[in-house]
Amino acid sequence: MITWIGNKLTEIFGTTLAPYVGYVLIGFAIITLVVLMAVISIYLERKIAAFMQMRLGPMRVGKWGTLQAFADVFKLMLKESLTPAQADKQLFNIAPYLVLTVSFLAFAPIAFSPSLQLWDLNIGVLYVTSVSSVGVIGILMAGWASNNKYSLLGAMRSGAQIVSYELSAGIAILTIVMMSGSLSVSGIIQSQADGWWIFKGHIPAIIAFVIFAIASTAELNRAPFDLAEAEQELTAGFHTEYSGMQFAMFFLAEYTNMFIVSMLGTTLFLGGWMPLHIAGWESFNHLMDKIPPFLWFFGKVFISLFMIIWFRWTFPRLRIDQLLKLEWKYLLPIGMVNLVFGAIITWLGWIL
């Protein structure tokens, strides 16, 4: 389909202009994807939260409240965006741009389907982890520039948290990189053609998956690790002073980071766009092959998103010293031992 669109564009615009038109189309496609997925997951989150608490959730706007998220966007669009008088105005206005742009940049090496990938970078996984942690600069910037004590405390907590859990997430990713022997996203997906890592990687891969899930939830500043914006303590954390569309940009960036983490987790542990195969069940495998790869990919991504939402309504919030203790005294040593354990298993050739 990609080549068909390419040929059509060359037919209409000629060979010199066609690539640029293609680039503009790709830009619009990415924006549409981000906004659409944010709207869908906001709706899902509110509905799932409501059902877990035996409420109905949004019901008024549209059938079953499906248009609620759009209504919220329009409401925010009409709101006045205030800048506090004592704020550092330049930093205050730059921060939303930085946070959103960084979360967009992390989409480059993600493979949505065999042919749908922007850039098959040979260090794709390292790129995603490094770029997505640049966002913490925007958070610190917003917290510092607001000239509000809640914002500053929230930003500092967020910084400590993201920086700490970076290590555990890195070690969990390393386990899979070691098993597959590749750092590129397509290489890791190809290595899972005969089984996803979570199934064929034995115990080390499962431990790595659990560590990755905990660490990435913490990096997203979501409950049970939402200390950076703990409502009862800090009102809204680093974006207390933001309103209107500037606030919406932080919100959008948060949801975009959620998809990026889910997509990374899907790529590393759940086989990316690879269909589910069970050895010996020929007709079942054949049926699974009929489902297009991008449906597999987005299905897995939404299952991961559901897990993140589920965590929020299951676990109580940790205290900040408990949070740092969990990382440094438990997750990091377990992750390092797990890496050695995984290395021994790989060396013995026990990978299925």
Partner: protein
């Protein structure tokens, strides 16, 4: 597609944010009021400046983080070639992680990992 994709993503992210924020500026009705521009503190007036030094309580974590993050970056090339190198790589990573573990233990004993 190469490095052009980064440029496209950068421009589309920046452009989307600029469009949304400027559209908001155009559409919204704004009326200035000095009370609106005060820092939000649940109705109480802020005491003193916000930009003061305060006890972070976890500054040693950031120092330990710096060391460990560099060590983990060292492990990425090892992870990629592990299957080709085999036993040598396995012995080396066991030594490497053992020394790293001693470092973590040292930080733990020196109470760098406890709340200050």
């Amino acid at each position: 597609m190469g490095i052009t994709s980064l440029l496209i993503l950068f421009i589309s992210g920046l452009g989307f944010a600029a469009l949304a924020i400027s559209l908001n500026k155009v559409l919204s009705y704004s009326r200035y009021n000095p009370v609106k521009a005060e820092p939000y503190e649940c109705g109480v007036q802020t005491q003193g400046s916000t930009w003061v030094q305060f006890n972070v309580g976890y500054y040693l974590f950031s120092l330990v983080f710096l060391i460990f993050d560099v060590e983990i970056v060292f492990m990425y090339p090892w992870a990629v070639v592990f299957k080709q190198v085999g036993l040598t790589a396995l012995i080396e990573i066991i030594l490497f992680i053992f020394i790293l573990f001693l470092g973590l233990l040292y930080a733990y004993k020196k109470k760098a990992l406890s709340w200050m």
